[in-house]
Amino acid sequence: MTQNRAELNRNLAQMLKGGVIMDVTTPEQAKIAQDAGACAVMALERIPADIRAAGGVSRMSDPAMIKGIQEAVSIPVMAKVRIGHIAEARILQAIDIDYIDESEVLSPADDVYHIDKNRFDVPFVCGAKNLGEALRRIAEGAAMIRTKGEPGTGDVIQAVRHMRTMNKQIHELVSLRDDEVYEAAKQLAVPYDLARYVHDNGRLPVVNFAAGGVATPADAALMMELGAEGVFVGSGIFKSGDPAKRAAAIVKATANWQDADLLARLSENLGEAMVGINEDEIQTIMAARGE
């Protein structure tokens, strides 16, 4: 991948900022998402709540299903590959996907190595629970970062924890003397130049979204308040009572997250939210996959 391509891929994430990326499983859902104002969709066969319920091995979606969604909408289409699954990533690049999510929501294909994303032309987004994970993924070529949250639970607590952890660690790194950054890079287990970038600029070198457990307009606004540059919504929309209305409300809440009067109106009469599972009730901690 040339430097130029890496920059273009980071640039696409910049265009998604302030927006909502929605999980969809059919062309019809993709159209609902686009009509509600989604800035991109994530095409997958089963949304995280169903993956969690079904158990078993979860893999890349059928390319025919992804193509159907690409044909249905004009906004960017993303899709997931298993952590470390180089061949699945090559397949998605071959069908001209706009962004690959190397995702802990699917069963990991490799318990040691992530994909060397620098070898691809197509951009990747990766999950991170903290600054070290984020910078390791960026070193591997990720052009966008998201929190891991705990997918499919409808419980926002982990996304909050990851976003707060990331921002706290960024602030700590910024506060160091220049000559202390070498040791910080060692502690974080990240390349020095990336630690240095964060120290000098006070932010990641790529766009950082929230993901995992966002189910209401208020959840989206909370994540924006905590410094997310946009929001992924997985199961929260199409596992709810009125997906079109909830999707549009979350889009508006993300755009104007600091307007509490608007949030109050957007939160009214949305129908049933996804039931969700509390963090301590779940068996599989997806966020622990791939550090």
Binding site: E7, N9, M15, G18, G19, C39, S74, V122
Partner: protein
């Protein structure tokens, strides 16, 4: 270049006028997309700006508007739900300066050739969305803006296209300023400046300077 965002520029919040020969504030549509990048360019030029998130943000201080890159379908919906569509449409109708980049060019176009939506419908051109295909079709190039000898001629401007549009046909009132592979990618029409590419993603501030001089 990724930048953090504040709500109003230092110049605006301090009530300090910029050193250049301008008095108004640039309103940057900030419902979705890369609005912070435009604000960063204006900061470098010492020009005051204000983010437009809701109708009440569009006040009398605003004398020019930037429509940033992002997803035009998302921005189009939020333009209406926030009530920002009307004041910006009036601003454009009055012939005041507006600068649309990528999605902004789509919002300004009279017609799109692969989408039934029309937003401001002010730019006398037919524009094709995602004209270069998906993200693997995104590219960077260099070209001149305008012709040598023109006022506002810019030589060798860096062009960054991200799932960008291009212009399919141009009416009599718009003027083509830049072409790539035979397709117009920058137009001017009175106070309207529209580019299919993203000057705000580069370090080159010349197009923003031109816009501020309109």
């Amino acid at each position: 270049m990724v930048v953090a965002v504040e709500y109003i520029s230092k110049e605006e919040s301090d009530g300090v006028e910029s050193g250049q020969d301008r008095h108004g504030v640039t309103g940057i549509l900030a419902v979705q997309g890369a609005f912070a990048e435009h604000a960063a360019v204006l900061d470098r030029l010492g020009a005051p700006w204000k983010l437009l998130r809701a109708a009440e943000d569009f006040d009398d201080s605003i004398d020019r508007v930037i429509l940033p890159g992002g997803e035009s379908t998302t921005q189009g919906k939020l333009l209406h739900s926030t009530g920002l569509f009307e004041p910006i449409a009036e601003h454009i109708k009055a012939g005041k300066p507006v600068f649309g980049t990528c999605a902004g060019m789509i919002l300004l176009a009279k017609r799109l050739d692969n989408d039934e939506h029309v937003y401001f419908g002010a730019l006398d051109a037919v524009v094709r969305r995602n004209a270069y295909g998906r993200q693997l079709g995104s590219f960077a190039a260099t070209a001149d803006f305008g012709e040598p000898g023109d006022a506002g001629y810019i030589k060798d401007f860096p062009l960054v296209f991200i799932r960008g549009p291009y212009v399919v046909s141009v009416g009599g009132s718009a003027r083509v300023e830049t072409e790539v592979d035979g397709h117009p990618v920058a137009l001017r029409q009175g106070g309207i400046l529209a580019t299919a590419f993203h000057p705000e993603l580069t370090d080159d501030t010349r197009l923003h300077e031109l816009f501020l001089s309109l």
